[in-house]
């Protein structure tokens, strides 16, 4: 097929978080918890209900970009689902996207399914395409690992 179909990065991740659905749902809307869980998050403040401004330092050691971004939560259906949209830009380019997050109950844990649609632009898209998907996957993994720790720590 021409032109070649190049998808924007689509990310499907699913993680088990050791807490019940309502707690996980609440955590996803708690600025303090988000700040601790989002990889490289240096600041995160609520600017309105369900709207945040954040500074993120992400990347790999020595190749970090500082991104200033905004995020908003919409389509809230507690404790089942929500949509997170985000937009950030920094020296190496920009990142935009949205994630549909679905929480389903499991045994002593909540399965958090996340389908994200990420657009990346600028320098990182031009030279780092091969690493973008893997990086996004890693960042999502780091987020959920941290969230799990938060949940079990406060259980």
């Amino acid at each position: 097929m021409w032109p070649p179909r190049v998808r924007k990065v689509k990310l499907t991740v699913s993680h088990s978080v050791p807490a019940d659905r309502q707690r996980v749902f609440d955590a996803l809307g708690d600025p303090a918890i988000l700040r601790r869980c989002i990889p490289g998050c240096e600041s995160l403040t609520a600017t309105a209900p369900d709207a945040y401004e954040a500074t993120l330092k992400i990347g790999v050691p020595g190749i970090k970009g500082v991104y200033a971004g905004i995020a908003a939560i919409s389509d809230k259906h507690p404790p089942e689902s929500l949509t997170l949209s985000f937009e950030g830009k920094g020296g190496p380019g920009f990142v935009r996207g949205s994630a549909a997050i679905v929480l389903s109950p499991g045994e002593a844990a909540t399965r958090v399914g996340c389908e994200a649609d990420v657009q990346v632009g600028g320098l990182i898209a031009a030279v780092g395409s091969r690493l973008i998907e893997a990086t996004a996957r890693k960042l999502a993994g780091d987020f959920f690992n941290q969230l799990s720790k938060e949940m079990s720590a406060t259980t």
């Binding site: 021409w2 032109p3 924007k8 380019g93 657009q119 898209a125 031009a126 030279v127």
Partner: protein, 780 residues
């Protein structure tokens, strides 16, 4: 030269080379001017966005930064980038040198920083803050045509730039009515990035006292720039000097008027200091023109005996966001050689040019003809397959006979001369065709995927008759026999690797009978080469060389008059031979150039009314294009496991008319085939669905390496062109045009045993592997 062997036709090593192989050539970036400032350009990371705000104060505050400008600062005083193509009802957006309130493609220039050092200029653009409001991007030309599509330029109301239709030859509808079968096929001509190894570079210097601007630029077209830049810069042509120093490859990418050329000139005037801008590779990939990017639906009307009655082509050309110099003209060129080497009585060609939020496409090596050749050569194989006719027989059946030339085609052009049967026969012989077929049989029996592809092509060169060209297709040349009996040749073409400093010297040395070392060829500086239409479309030797020949002949004619005067006889009795003037039967005296030139310039003893000096210049207006042709045969083996293609044999027989320097011809053919290997097997410019360029570096855009090149068997036939006195046709693009379909046909032939009937370009290992999976599964 008194020795009897002429220079023309000899494989001579180049005059250009000693400086280049010792690192002594001067490319634009090598220029060092006092007080030189360096510009660095900030480019859009978005395919389409509104610019809300640009903040430059932090950038301006950096020590060493001289200025930072945005579109708001320069677009009013610097004119728009021109398009020279004359297409009826063409809708064109205004192409300002820096973006206005919107950006339309990734790489669109947004702001420029000028500093005392390139490192500092680069620091500065990092500090410019742009607030973008991203908008939907149009990325796919086919989807751009659908109603409800987002718009590349919302203010234009539609994505279509033009529709160009040609009906040629006999009644196309009748042809399709009379057909036994109609064979349809869709083909994609992928987007390609030309990637000359020298990125673009510009140095502009303004002399306030004289009011003159000198622009050194890595361009193929200094003369066209001198014609077109005055409108952008507001200074007259007479105050503008354009110099193309050594140019590190062009391939069409430098056949353009670029925003950065005008911008640097503008900055030099505005800042009263020379300004240099050197493109990075990343900028080159994003903001220098791309090539191809057409999608075509093709229909062939055939009789069961294989006769082709008519051909319909409907194609969509992805133009990108803006029109560069020839953007809309390139896809229309396809229509001129749609029928290839074949007698096809009726054609219909329709191309729709579509705007998308990508870099502009324009002329890349072959420009329009590779598309035509690829489609007709693929179709010949498809038709042969469907009708179970031998593919070579099908081709031969439709060749015009050598006696049919000049041959008027249904596309509306007249092929100057040709012997298509001759190149095919010679290629078959060099390829040892019967043995090759036996090899294929044996390889297939052994379970190997072995294929043989053929392409017989014709192309259009020597561009061209002025009535068919947007900005004049003539060429200018000047020859001066100096007082020292050395010869200065000045050409209006601008070779950048083609080697005409050598081949033109060969022509002139032969005709003047002087040693080649005594001939110097000047080019590329509009203050030296006053007129010219430059180098593109394989025109240098056929058109530019002819202007030189005309000038030499004028010099000789004038010299004869002077010699007759010195012999005290009439012009008609003077004979010029081997660099000497004689008057056989009148005097035994011979006059050499050294004596004659001295007489001409010292001017003590001239005939009445004779102007001193021995110099002549000429404009040559070609009556027609030339049409080189050839046959390429390629054998490949495909790795069943990995889908990798190995070219095991490559035979090319090209006919470019007379050859001035066969070594240079060979170099052009080999270089051209390399581009075709890239196009056929791996090169492709990729934008993602948001219009992000994913092939922005050599890390992601593969051009052929030394290890990708097979051993060639190259041959040629010589069918001189009748349209110029040298009998030459041009060879710069032939390899690229002829080879892509030969390789593609070979790969598909290799996969035929698996039931694969077609694959799109580029035939990457993964694409081949996928085809093998689906077809194998389907037939098992």
């Amino acid at each position: 030269m008194s020795d009897a062997t002429p220079y023309i036709g000899r494989a001579m090593k180049r005059v250009e080379d000693p400086r280049l192989i010792q690192g002594l050539g001067t490319y634009t970036d090598d220029l060092r001017l006092a007080g030189l400032l360096h510009a660095c350009i900030l480019r859009s990371p978005h395919a389409h966005a509104r610019i809300r705000r640009i903040e430059t104060s932090a950038a301006k505050a950096i020590p060493g930064v001289v200025a930072v400008f945005t579109g708001a600062d320069v677009n009013d005083s610097c004119g728009a980038v021109p398009c020279a193509a004359a297409i009826p009802d063409l809708k064109a957006p205004r192409h300002t040198v820096l973006a206005g309130d919107r950006v339309y493609f990734v790489g669109h220039a947004v702001a420029v920083a000028v500093a005392t050092d390139p490192y500092i200029a680069c620091d500065a653009i990092d500090e410019i803050e742009v607030d973008y409001d991203p908008l939907p991007a149009v990325v796919n030309a086919m989807e751009a045509l659908k109603s409800g599509s987002a718009l590349t330029h919302p203010d234009m109301g539609a994505n279509v730039a033009f529709t160009h239709v040609v009906n040629g030859g006999s009644d196309i509808d009748a042809a399709f009515r009379n057909a036994d079968r109609i064979i349809k096929h869709r083909l994609y001509h992928q987007r390609l990035t030309p990637m000359p190894i020298e990125p673009r570079a510009v140095v502009a210097s303004y002399h306030r006292g004289e009011g003159t601007l000198t622009l050194w630029t890595s361009t193929q077209i200094p003369h066209l720039l001198r014609t077109l830049l005055p409108n952008m810069l507001g200074i007259p042509e007479t105050k503008l000097r354009i110099v193309a120093p050594e140019v590190g490859g062009g391939f069409g990418a430098k056949l353009n008027v670029y925003a950065e050329e005008a911008l640097c000139a503008h900055l030099a005037m505005r800042l009263s200091a020379p300004v240099k801008w050197v493109e990075s590779r990343r900028e080159n990939a994003a903001s220098t023109i791309h090539g191809r990017d057409q999608i075509g639906d093709y229909e062939v009307a055939v009789k069961n005996d294989g006769r082709i009655l008519g051909l319909k082509a409907t194609s969509v050309a992805d133009l990108g966001a803006y029109l560069q110099l020839l953007t809309p003209a390139v896809p229309t060129l396809t229509g001129l050689v749609l029928t290839g080497c074949y007698k096809i009585p009726a054609i219909r060609f329709e191309v729709v040019g579509v705007y998308t939020n990508k870099m502009a496409t324009d002329a890349y090596r072959g420009a329009g003809r590779p598309e035509a050749t690829y489609l007709i050569e693929r179709l010949m194989d498809v038709v042969a397959n469907e009708l179970k006719i031998d593919r070579l027989d099908l081709r031969l059946k439709h060749f015009p006979a050598p006696g049919d030339f000049p041959f008027a085609t249904s596309c509306g052009v007249t092929y100057d001369s040709g012997n298509y049967q001759g190149t095919l026969a010679k290629a078959k012989q060099l390829a040892d065709w019967d043995a090759l077929m036996a090899d294929r049989k044996a390889a297939r029996a052994a379970g190997k995927l072995f294929g043989v592809g053929v392409s017989t092509y014709v192309e259009i060169c020597a561009m061209g008759p002025s009535k068919a060209m947007p900005a004049g297709g003539w060429e200018w040349g000047c020859v001066r026999m100096e007082i020292s009996a050395k010869v200065t040749v000045i050409t209006g073409v601008t070779p950048h690797g083609q080697g005409q400093e050598t081949s033109f010297a060969q022509i002139v040395a032969d005709r003047l009978g002087v040693p080649i070392e005594d001939v110097a060829v000047l080019k590329g500086d509009t203050n030296v080469a006053h007129y010219g239409r430059d180098t593109y479309g394989s025109r240098g030797t056929a058109v530019g060389g002819t202007a030189i020949v005309m000038s030499v002949d004028k010099v000789i004619k004038k010299a004869k008059t002077l010699a007759a005067h010195l012999f005290e006889t009439l012009d008609d009795y003077v004979v010029f031979e081997n660099g000497k003037f004689k008057a056989p039967g009148i005097t035994a005296r011979e006059i050499a150039w050294s004596e004659l030139a001295a007489e001409a310039y010292l001017a003590k003893n001239l005939p009445a009314g004779f102007e001193p000096g021995l110099e002549a210049s000429s404009f040559f207006e070609p009556e027609n294009f030339t049409f080189p042709f050839g046959t390429h045969i390629c054998a490949v083996e495909v790795d069943r496991d990995t889908g990798e293609v190995a070219i095991t044999k490559y035979v090319a027989v090209d006919d470019c008319g007379n050859q001035i320097n066969p070594l240079l011809v060979e170099g052009q053919v080999q270089g051209g085939i390399a581009h075709a290997i890239g196009q056929a097997l791996f090169e492709q410019t990729i934008y993602d669905e948001n219009g992000q360029l994913l092939t922005g570096e050599f890390m992601d855009y593969a051009i052929p390496r030394a290890t990708d090149i097979p051993e060639y068997t190259l041959g040629s036939t010589v069918t001189p062109s009748p349209v110029n006195p040298l009998g030459v046709k041009g060879v710069g693009e032939a390899g690229t045009i002829g080879a892509t379909p030969a390789i593609a046909n070979a790969v598909i032939d290799a996969l035929t045993p698996l039931g694969v009937v077609h694959l799109d370009l580029p035939m990457t290992p993964e694409r081949i592997w996928r085809a093998m999976q689906t077809r194998t599964v389907a037939t098992v």
